[in-house]
């Protein structure tokens, strides 16, 4: 799994974190600190771009929940865009689609975080 942080072209105060690869037990240990760090660098809000994510494991899913919880305590707004259909369906089945604040595209997500 790799991550890449950049500023949103829609609103540069918001950051986009592009995730790619498998979000699973092998990667979760190293990824979680990177996500936490990204949150820290994004006081106005952070959007996870899941377009290139191939698989989410149990551990990966729970890590996302932990990350969202900690962002909530620090008051950072998070959203998620473009999960592949199988992964969006998984979020839906796990009743996490609302928690994860999922949007179709960057503009919508940015607008929702920072109206």
């Amino acid at each position: 799994m790799t991550v890449a942080l950049s500023a949103s072209t829609v609103n540069p105060r918001i950051n986009i974190l592009a995730l790619s690869g498998r979000l699973s037990v092998e990667t979760e240990g190293q990824i979680q600190p990177q996500l936490m760090e990204a949150i820290k660098q994004s006081p106005h809000g952070l959007v996870f771009d899941l377009e290139a994510v191939a698989f989410v494991s149990s551990a990966g899913l729970r890590m996302l929940i932990v990350v969202y919880k900690s962002a909530a305590t620090s008051g950072t707004k998070l959203a998620m865009i473009r999960p592949p259909p199988e992964i969006y369906k998984l979020f839906k089945l796990a009743a996490l689609d609302l928690t994860f604040n999922v949007f179709e595209n960057e503009a919508e997500a940015v607008k929702a975080i920072c109206p």
């Binding site: 989410v56 494991s57 149990s58 551990a59 899913l61 998984l90 089945l93 796990a94 009743a95």
Partner: protein
């Protein structure tokens, strides 16, 4: 503890289990078949490896059953189950059938709630775990309180192996502190997709009552019948084996022997020699209250899975030391006979039956006493006895010549699916009689591709044409038919013209006897056909020659049909159908008794080549088209010399019939590349030659072209069918005695206008994906070299050309102009529209007609 508090604790615990399982099920949806198969293999291997430990644990904890047999059950639940399911596709696309256009995709259910019994604790848990894993479902177990430790241990072993092989975390969960409240909380939990319940009646009912989808399988009360043809040593061996296996705890094990009187002694001797003990009447009286709890009216947990020796001792009965099985002679089935109930221990009821029927009735009584739909067993070498037994008894499994316990769970003695959850059908208040397996834990998603129906092109195998072909045929070809006796069916005109005599003379010269049925009037009636069939039955011809206009040919076709197949009634034949290939009344081929030659003397109906005949019911005032390819004539002779004498009005009427056949088949929803050229050519010929034939009946070329046009249009519409033009013409003709072709002409223009407009209702035909009629009419106009710069112009010009043609032929412009009284027409309007709506020909019309649409068309035709 405060009951309220314990309630919330239970609910919280249920929520945790279900949330975990739900998450696992969500994650599991991403797995492919290969990953799943790897997980199932690892889990099966781990379960099999722990067979001994788990068997020990189960015997220790429950105090029931036999260690060695539990080992077999544990192996069965892993090795046999795995072998059965390993190659089954359970992920993604699992079936693909290009021939039917059906594809099946597997969708997991989500969270399964597994409820497992005390009788087969570890094996049932492992079995359900494997089928859940194979289908990408998560499973939460709620084991019997008295088998909790061993059941949960089995779940843990499978779970850890599965996770190590890559399964989602929490894919298998289990209840640590079981209670009624917990079971209830889980059964009604929103996350549960399916309850898979194995146990007693109470549990199964609770599962079904929870409001969740459930596969609950309940108790049996399995009778085994030993027929007089049975292999006795085998029967006794199998029953002992089965009923002592794990001390009789498999629900499919035998509960009562029913033996045929003729072999009773041999069976009893054999039973005793193999270690069975017949209880004395006094002993039965004592033991029945120990085995069946008198208060609960069901088997006592004190005896379930105990040995025969143990149970005898419990009742204070001394039995020989080698005793393995107890037998209680019983006279009846029911509450007054406690031992006629299910008892999962090595004790069997024993009945003697005077014959097969009585034996089956005893078995019926037993199954109806607490075991309906489960299993029954028979030892017999008489297939008829086995058939009768199987036909009568209601049981999901009917085991033949095998131990029912090991037979019922499948695979070892037969090819049933191996399973530890045996469905009992509605007899046991279950949803299925199957041995439950992976197929029951999937949602099957059927992808159905649009399929177009096969079409065909069928016409008589021989069609002769050119002037004089009648004579050539009857002087040469006729001999090849090898016919001995012919009946000529014709009308008065054919007799008058001398054609009938000519044909009869030819037949005589060819050595064929013949007689004549000339009693056919226009629009043949049921009565005419009945009279004709009587003649056929008397004369018994092997050749039918239909000679004349559409009326005698149609009459002869209907007569032919009734002659060949007297079993069909007129009512069967006129039954309306949607698809000629799926119709309820199927006609076998004709030709067994007679071959059929059609010789038209008008150029109109095309009946000489079609699969249709129109019969008039004069009493009901209706015309019934009968359609079936079986009534297509074998040979058609299209000799234009025969039509030279047709009077001008008949020429006009029949010619307009040709035109409507061709027009309707061209715009039909089943028109095809095979029929289109025929239809277009016929239309061209009619527009060019019908006026000439009408104005000068002696114009041989015009007559020939029209005669060909008639048959060509017939070939088109027998394969592409007609439409509402004919529906309306049929009823108009019958109501106002208008000749068929003329009736068609009266509605033709309003029909074109109606069909060319946007349909109010689309015809449900897969071969007709979008409305085309307007463009098709424009194509016709183009063939007639009319202005078709827009489709609308094409349609309008076609209508105009049609009006001109009618005028040339002296056909009044409207029904009003033709003198149909207005009051009469108005009074019958709705009735006619309704009859037309139900006419067989409506099916292929490019617009599915509403009755009100037909009324409007008729009104327009009235003018």
């Amino acid at each position: 503890m405060d009951p309220k508090k314990s309630d919330t604790n239970v609910k919280a615990a249920a929520d945790v289990l279900m949330a975990q399982a739900n998450e696992a099920a969500a994650i599991f949806t991403q797995y492919d078949q290969e990953q799943v198969d790897k997980i199932v293999a690892a889990a099966a291997k781990a379960g099999a490896a722990q067979r001994l430990e788990l068997a020990h644990l189960a015997v220790e904890e429950t105090g029931m059953g036999i260690f060695e047999d539990k080992v077999i059950k544990n192996l069965f639940a892993t090795e046999y189950i795995y072998n059965d399911i390993r190659d089954i596709k359970t992920v993604g696309l699992i079936h693909d059938c290009p021939a039917t256009g059906l594809m099946e995709y597997a969708e997991p259910l989500g969270v399964v709630l597994g409820i497992t019994p005390i009788t087969n604790p570890t094996s049932t848990v492992m079995f359900k775990s494997l089928i859940a894993l194979k289908t990408r479902n998560a499973i939460v177990f709620c084991a019997s309180r008295n088998a909790l430790k061993c059941s949960n241990e089995a779940a843990r072993i499978i779970y850890e192996a599965a996770v190590a092989a890559g399964a989602p975390d929490y894919v298998i969960r289990w209840v640590e502190e079981p209670s009624r409240e917990m079971t209830q909380a889980l059964m009604t939990h929103p996350n549960v997709a399916l309850i898979l319940a194995t146990g007693g009646t109470g549990l199964v009912q609770a599962a079904y009552g929870s409001g969740k989808p459930a596969i609950g399988v309940g108790p049996g009360n399995v009778p085994v019948y030993i027929d007089k043809s049975a292999d006795i040593p085998m029967a006794v061996n199998d029953i002992l084996l089965s009923k002592t296996f794990d001390n009789g705890m498999i629900c499919a094990s035998e509960q009562a022997i029913v033996v045929h009187r003729d072999i009773r002694q041999a069976v009893e001797d054999r039973l005793v020699s193999q270690g069975a003990y017949f209880l004395k009447p006094s002993e039965v009286a004592v033991i029945q209250d120990i085995v069946i709890d008198p208060a609960k009216q069901s088997m006592s947990s004190k005896v379930v899975g105990k040995s025969a020796q143990y149970i005898a001792e419990l009742a204070g009965i001394k039995v020989p030391p080698q005793t393995r099985l107890l037998l209680a002679r019983l006279a009846d089935v029911g509450e007054t006979v406690p031992l006629s109930r299910e008892k999962l221990c090595p004790l069997l009821g024993y009945y003697v039956a005077a014959n097969l029927d009585e034996a089956i009735n005893i078995c019926t009584n037993l199954t109806h006493f607490g075991g309906l739909g489960h299993s029954v067993s028979i030892f017999s070498r008489d297939q008829q006895a086995i058939d009768k037994f199987s036909r009568t008894l209601n049981a999901g499994r009917i085991l033949v010549n095998s131990p029912s316990a090991l037979g019922g769970i499948g695979d070892i003695y037969n090819r049933l699916h191996p399973s530890l959850t045996l469905g009992c059908g509605t007899g046991g208040c279950n949803i299925t009689t199957d041995n439950v397996t992976v197929t029951h834990l999937l949602n099957i998603k059927r992808v159905s591709k649009r399929m177009v129906n096969m079409k065909w092109f069928r016409v008589p195998s021989k069609i002769y044409f050119e002037p004089g072909c009648l004579d050539v045929f009857f002087t040469h070809e006729i001999k090849d038919l090898g016919a001995k006796r012919a009946l000529i069916v014709c009308s008065g005109s054919a007799v008058r013209e001398g054609t009938t005599d000519r044909v009869a003379a030819y037949l005589k010269a060819a050595g064929i006897q013949s007689s004549v049925f000339s009693d056919v009037k226009s629009d043949p009636t049921v009565e005419t056909i009945t009279a004709g069939v009587a003649v056929l039955n008397k004369e018994k011809p092997d050749l039918i020659i239909a000679l004349g206009g559409g009326s005698p040919i149609d009459a002869a076709k209907a007569m032919w049909l009734m002659y060949e197949h007297p079993e069909f009634s007129f009512d069967d034949l006129r039954l309306r159908f949607m698809d000629i290939r799926k119709r309820i009344v199927k006609l076998p081929p004709l030709g067994q008794k007679a071959r059929f030659i059609a010789i038209p003397t008008t150029s109109g109906t095309g009946s000489e080549v079609t699969a249709f005949t129109v019969v008039t019911d004069s009493k009901a005032g209706k015309k019934y088209p009968i359609a079936d390819y079986a009534i297509t004539p074998d040979i058609a002779i299209i000799d234009p010399n025969l039509v030279l004498t047709v009077p001008p009005t008949v020429t006009a009427d029949t010619g307009l019939d040709v035109l409507s056949h061709a027009m309707e088949s061209y715009v039909s929803t089943v028109a095809s590349d095979y029929t289109d050229p025929l239809a277009l050519r016929a239309i061209q010929l009619v527009f060019e030659y019908l006026p000439q034939a009408f104005l000068n009946g002696g114009n041989a070329l015009a007559r020939e072209k029209m005669h060909n046009a008639s048959t060509i249009a017939g070939m088109a519409f027998t394969n592409a069918f007609l439409g509402i033009n004919h529906c309306l013409a049929h009823i108009l003709g019958a109501t106002f005695h208008i000749p068929h072709g003329r009736a068609n002409a009266f509605v033709m223009i309003p029909v074109i206008r109606y069909n060319a407009a946007l349909p109010h209702k689309f015809p449900p035909s897969p071969n007709y994906p979008s409305p085309k009629a307007k463009d098709r009419y424009a194509e016709i106009a183009a063939v007639l070299k009319l202005d078709t710069s827009t489709p609308e112009k094409g349609v309008e010009n076609l209508v105009r050309a049609m009006a001109e043609l009618k005028k040339t032929l002296g056909v009044p412009a409207s029904l009003r102009a033709a003198g149909v009284p207005e009051a009469d027409f108005k009074a019958k309007l709705r009735f006619m529209a309704e009859v037309a709506f139900d006419d067989q020909c409506a099916g292929a019309n490019p617009s599915y007609p509403l009755v009100d649409d037909l009324i409007k068309v008729l009104e327009e035709a009235y003018g």
